[in-house]
Amino acid sequence: MNKRYAIPTVLIKRGPMRFFSQIDLTRVIERAIRRSELPVYYTQGFTPRIKMSFYGALKVGAEGRIPLKLYFIERIDTGEICARLQPQLPAGLTILPDSGDTRG
C-alpha cells in the first residue's frame, strides 16, 4: 500500500458555487486535482477513488468554509498544493492551507 500524506486545507464556498451540494463539490475537487496532475492518493480496491475528507457540510445555497483533508503520495508543501489547485477551481471556490483553528 502506498504511503499517504494528509494535507489539511480549508475550502471556501461563495457566490455561484453556493448552489452546489457537497456531492457536487467532491466532484469539482476531484477533477481539479486530476487537471493539476498532483500526485494524489487513490483508495485501494476495485474502484479506486481520490480520497478526501470533508469535516462538515454546508447547505445548498449557503456560503461558508469547510475544512477538507486531501491525500497525496508524496510529501508536498500545503501552500504549494493550494497554489496549484486554485487555478483549477471555478470562481466561487477558494482553497487555503488549514492553519488548524477552523476545526473544533
Binding site: 455561484p16 448552489f19 451540494s21 487537471r35 474502484t47 445555497g61
Partner: protein
C-alpha cells in the same frame, strides 16, 4: 438571483468548467439549446460541437439555454420574467439566432415552451428579427410553422455558409433569402406541402428555393471540429462522462433503422485522432469517465487498437472507460482478450427480434447462439447481466415470435447464467427506413401483443420494460406527421403537455388536441401512400460510400 428556491439550482448557474463567456459588443449573439432539462441537454454531444465551434469565431458569441424545471418556469411566468441564456443571463429575445437541437419528436411541445418562456413569438411568420433554427430530426414537417430554418445534415459542414449569411445582412428576410440558395438549409415557408388524396406533394413557392434541399456532411472526421475544452458540469448529468465520437454513420443496413440513413455515410475517426482527443480532453476536463460514441463500434476498423491504447491511457490515470454496444460475436471472440483488461464490461445487445427468421427479415445479423457457447468467456469478463433490446410489432411477427422473447431471456438465465434486462420498444415505421411504407399495427393489436409478451415472461425473474403504447403512438404520429400537426403541438403545449414536467406526458393532451384539430391519424400511421410528407428530403448519402458488413 437566489436559485436555491428551486429544485436542482445547479441547472441555472452556467459556470461549468470551460464554459465560454464573451463580451457581446460587436458580435452576433447566437443562443443554442436543447428543449429538455439541463441534465438531458448537457448530455448531448451535437450541442457541444456547435457551441465550441461557433465560439471559435471572433465575431460570434454562442451561449446555451435549456428548458428550466417546472418550478422555475412557473416562477418566470408569474413574475413576468424572461428565460435567459446560461452564460451572460441575457434574455432569449435579445439573441439574433436561437438554434435548437431536436433529438426526439416527443420534445416538440417543449420547443414552444422554451421559446415562449424566452418571450419569442412561436410561429415563424410572427417573428421579425430572430431566426429559429432546428436540426437533428429526420422529418421536420410537424414543426414547419414554428421553425425558420432546418439544417439538414452536419452543422460543422454548413457553419461557414450560415455565418457568412448572418454577417451579410441583419434582416431576417434577407438572411432567409440568402440561405435558401445554399444546400442543406430547408426553409419551410418557401415550400408548400399538399395532400393529393394518394400522397404528399411538396413544391417550391419561389423559384430561388432549392429542391432537393440537399444535406451537408463532413467528409473527413479527422480534420473536422471536435471540442477539446470539454464543458464539465459541476453537478451530475444523465451521461456523466466525456464522450469521444469514434465514427459517424453505420455500415450496416438494418431495415427498421433510421439512424443509419440520417447519419449516413459511414465515416471513421482514426485511432491516432481518437487517442489525441482522449488525452487533450482529459487534460482540459479532468473527467473521471470517458466513453466512445458510435452507432456500431465493432465495425471500426481499428477497434482493437483503440481499446488497447485507450485502456492503457485510462488505467494509469484511473479513468473509467465505457464502450458502446459491441457485437456479441466480437465481445466473446476477437475483442475478448482486450475487454478482459477493462474493469467493468457491460454487454448491451440490440437483439431486436428473438426469432432468427425475423432478424433475417430485418437484415439484423447477430449471433445469439454464440452467447451460450461462451459462458466461460462471459464469466471471466465478469458479465453477469446483459441489457437486451427487442422490438415488438414488427411486420409479419407471429405470436410465437413474441413468446420467443420470453424463452430467449429464460434460456440465457438457465444456460449462460445471465440476468437479462430486456427493453422492448414498439415498432414504429420511421421515415427514411426500409419499412417507412409499412402500416403500424393497430393499437388493439399492439395491446394484445404486449399481453402475450408479459404472459410469456411471467415469473422468470426478468427485468422487462416495454415502452408504453401511448408514448409509442405519440412518437409515431410526430415522426410521420405532416404540417397540419403544428396546430396539435400548439394545443398540447397550451394545455401543459411538456415532457419532463409533472403530468406533461399524459395522453389526454394529445387525444383532445388530435380530435379538436380533426387529424386523420389513420392516414399518418396505417396508410400506404405514393409519397410521404418527408419524401422530398434526401438524407441518404450515396450508398456506394458505405462499407458492407459481412
Amino acid at each position: 438571483m437566489d436559485y436555491s428556491q428551486f429544485q436542482h439550482p445547479q441547472r441555472y448557474v452556467g459556470n461549468e468548467w470551460n464554459a465560454i463567456r464573451k463580451s457581446h459588443t460587436g458580435k452576433i449573439p447566437i443562443c443554442i439549446g436543447y428543449p429538455h432539462l439541463y441534465e438531458i441537454g448537457m448530455s448531448n454531444v451535437g450541442l457541444r460541437i456547435i457551441y465550441g465551434m461557433l465560439n471559435q469565431y471572433r465575431d460570434i458569441v454562442c451561449e446555451r439555454v435549456f428548458l428550466p424545471g417546472h418550478d422555475y418556469a412557473h416562477y418566470l411566468k408569474t413574475q413576468r420574467k424572461k428565460l435567459c441564456s446560461l452564460e451572460t443571463k441575457l434574455p432569449l429575445d435579445q439573441f439574433q439566432v436561437i438554434g435548437l437541437n431536436l433529438n426526439s419528436e416527443l420534445n416538440y411541445p417543449n420547443v414552444l415552451e422554451l421559446l415562449s418562456l424566452g418571450n419569442i413569438p412561436l410561429f415563424s411568420r410572427e417573428r421579425k428579427d430572430i431566426i429559429v433554427t432546428g436540426g437533428g430530426i429526420a422529418n421536420p414537417e410537424p414543426l414547419a410553422g414554428f421553425i425558420d430554418v432546418f439544417f439538414m445534415g452536419e452543422f460543422e459542414a454548413g457553419a461557414e455558409d450560415f455565418l457568412r449569411t448572418l454577417r451579410a445582412s441583419p434582416r431576417k428576410q434577407d438572411r432567409l433569402r440568402a440561405l435558401a440558395e445554399l444546400p442543406g438549409f430547408y426553409i419551410p415557408q418557401h415550400y408548400s406541402s399538399v395532400f393529393t388524396g394518394t400522397g404528399y406533394r411538396t413544391e417550391k413557392k419561389y423559384p430561388f428555393a432549392r429542391l432537393p434541399v440537399g444535406k451537408r456532411i463532413v467528409t473527413d472526421l479527422n480534420s473536422s471540429y471536435y471540442p477539446r475544452k470539454w464543458l464539465v458540469p459541476h453537478t451530475s448529468i444523465v451521461h456523466d462522462r466525456a464522450q469521444i465520437e469514434i465514427s459517424r454513420g453505420c455500415p450496416n443496413h438494418c431495415t427498421f433503422c433510421q439512424a443509419r440513413t440520417v447519419y449516413s455515410p459511414y465515416r471513421e475517426r482514426s485511432a491516432e485522432k481518437v487517442l489525441s482527443l482522449l488525452e487533450e480532453i482529459y487534460r482540459h476536463s479532468g473527467y473521471e469517465n470517458f466513453s466512445f460514441l458510435s452507432l456500431s463500434a465493432s465495425d471500426h476498423s481499428s477497434i482493437e487498437e483503440l481499446i488497447d491504447r485507450a485502456h492503457s491511457f485510462c488505467r494509469t490515470r484511473r479513468i473509467g472507460l465505457a464502450l458502446p454496444s459491441l457485437r456479441i460475436g466480437d465481445v466473446i471472440g476477437r475483442l475478448y482478450k482486450k475487454l478482459s483488461a477493462l474493469k467493468k464490461v457491460s454487454l448491451t445487445v440490440a437483439v431486436e427480434a428473438a426469432s432468427a427468421q425475423l432478424r433475417q427479415r430485418m437484415n439484423k445479423h447477430i449471433e445469439i447462439e454464440s452467447l451460450f457457447e461462451a459462458v466461460d468467456a462471459l464469466k471471466s469478463l465478469k458479465i453477469r447481466h446483459v441489457k437486451a433490446y427487442f422490438m415488438l410489432g414488427i411486420p409479419g411477427e407471429t405470436d410465437d415470435d413474441i413468446r420467443s422473447i420470453g424463452r430467449l431471456i429464460h434460456e440465457l438465465k438457465r444456460r449462460a447464467g445471465l440476468q437479462v434486462n430486456a427493453s422492448v420498444n414498439i415498432f414504429i415505421p420511421k421515415p427514411f427506413t426500409g419499412w417507412e411504407a409499412l402500416p403500424m399495427p393497430e393499437e388493439r393489436i399492439l395491446q394484445e401483443k404486449r399481453e402475450i409478451l408479459f404472459q410469456s415472461s411471467r415469473g422468470k425473474k426478468t427485468k422487462l420494460s416495454v415502452s408504453p403504447l401511448k408514448r409509442s403512438l405519440r412518437e409515431a404520429i410526430l415522426s410521420r406527421g405532416d404540417r397540419t400537426l403544428d396546430a396539435v403541438i400548439h394545443r398540447v403545449w397550451r394545455t401543459g403537455g411538456i415532457e419532463g414536467y409533472p403530468g406533461g406526458n399524459a395522453w389526454d393532451h394529445w387525444e383532445s388536441a388530435l380530435r379538436e384539430e380533426k387529424i386523420d391519424t389513420h392516414r399518418i400511421l396505417h396508410r400506404s401512400l405514393d409519397a410521404y410528407p418527408w419524401s422530398f428530403l434526401t438524407p441518404e448519402a450515396p450508398r456506394n460510400q458505405d462499407r458492407c458488413h459481412e
